[in-house]
């Protein structure tokens, strides 16, 4: 149990996928203009990432390792993620129209979100057990959502700020992200203490 809590805290705050591994930067820079859409995107990513690490774990350990096909890892993972996104989209549309209206437009974008594939690959290199992978996937998604929402809030305010002309748009967003990464470095003492 202690291990799982450690994985949770360190993945959400310390080794945040966005701010220390640079995964999922594209939606982070592109989508995060409004808080509502950041929440929608974060929820969709958390959902798919949890499924991707658990199902990815099953396929990796029960099929690829067993039949000595590890070199197919990347091809299989990306196919799993793409089909997961498809299935989740169809499933949500069928069973919950409100949820589909909220998450629908973000789902197709997730296939090319490197955070999902990144989480699946980290789960393999870190040799997590099945339960640990599930916790890792969920907390990875949660960490992504938190940063995305913070960033959306900052950018809402930023639109009223007087920014030097050449820094408008991407440059100022990147610099804000850098400051955010500095702030999150403050959490790094949390676990060893």
């Amino acid at each position: 149990m202690k291990d799982l809590i450690l994985i949770f805290v360190s993945t959400v705050l310390i080794n945040n996928l966005v701010l220390s591994y640079f995964l999922g930067i594209c939606p982070f820079l592109g989508v995060s203009g409004k808080i509502e859409s950041a929440i929608g995107m974060g929820a969709a990513v958390t959902f798919v990432m949890t499924l991707a690490t658990t199902i990815g774990w099953l396929i990796y350990h029960l099929a690829l390792v067993k039949f000595n096909l590890i070199f197919l890892e990347y091809v299989i993972f990306i196919l799993v993620i793409a089909s997961l996104v498809q299935i989740v989209e169809m499933f949500i549309r069928k069973f919950s129209q409100p949820l589909y209206d909220a998450l629908g437009i973000y789902l197709p974008l997730i296939t090319t979100n490197c955070a999902i594939l990144g989480a699946a690959l980290f789960m393999v290199t870190k040799n997590y057990s099945f339960l640990e992978s599930a916790v890792f996937g969920f907390s990875g998604g949660l960490g992504f959502s938190i940063v995305l929402i913070i960033m959306a809030g900052i950018r809402e305010d930023l639109s009223y700020a007087d920014i030097p002309k050449h820094f408008k748009g991407a440059p100022i967003t990147l610099i804000v992200a850098g400051l955010l990464a500095l702030i999150f470095m403050g959490f790094s003492g949390l676990i060893s203490a």
Binding site: L23, L121, F167, L174, I175, G178, L179, L182
Partner: protein, 192 residues
């Protein structure tokens, strides 16, 4: 020729289109890592564009993204195995960012926006231009961070002895800030 040159400056993948941000920020802790990543991207981009533009007529429209992704993943696997066998040190330094080329939006973006519509020769020129553009981008970013953060470039000491290393430059926060400043600089140059 225009297809080749636009990737180097006018439609630079990193500074103009903001594509492929994850590897750009993650592996540029040193100039050497930057170049290695750039070469890996050129290889994958070149061959994926080649295959995509060759088979563009026979791929049904609905499944094209899935097909492109599988093609890209195949070439990425080749690069990954090649690095692991011949340059284990670089492979360790780049870590999961080699496999993450699969979801690098530069490659899927060029395959979808260019190679699936244009002739083979044009697609190859476009791929080379974009790949080289990406490479000089990550090399520049890697050099700046390496010089300021460690006082070296490609491993050679260039800063004077007493230079106080700006450790922040090789940490994640430095990557964001340097890239932000570089894009602002590009905007300034472009405006003139």
């Amino acid at each position: 020729m225009k297809d080749f040159l636009k990737g180097l400056w006018g439609q630079h993948p990193v500074f103009r289109q903001l594509l492929g941000m994850c590897p750009t920020l993650a592996v540029t802790t040193s100039a050497l890592n930057g170049i290695s990543m750039g070469l890996a991207v050129i290889f994958v981009l070149f061959f994926s564009s080649l295959v995509v533009s060759l088979i563009k007529k026979i791929v049904p429209n609905q499944v094209r993204i899935a097909v492109y992704t599988v093609i890209i993943a195949t070439f990425v696997t080749i690069v990954d195995i090649f690095f692991k066998a011949n340059f284990p040190q670089i492979s360790r330094a780049l870590g999961p960012y080699i496999p993450l080329i699969v979801v690098n939006c530069i490659i899927l973006g060029r395959c979808e926006a260019f190679a699936s519509r244009c002739s083979v020769a044009k697609s190859l020129l476009d791929a080379l231009g974009m790949g080289l553009g990406f490479t000089w981008g990550v090399f520049l970013l890697g050099s700046i961070r390496e010089v300021l953060g460690m006082g070296t470039i490609l491993g050679f000491q260039i800063m004077p002895q007493g230079y106080n290393h700006l450790i922040i430059m090789i940490l994640p926060a430095g990557a964001f800030i340097v890239l932000g400043l570089l894009i602002a600089l590009m905007n300034r140059i472009e405006e003139r």
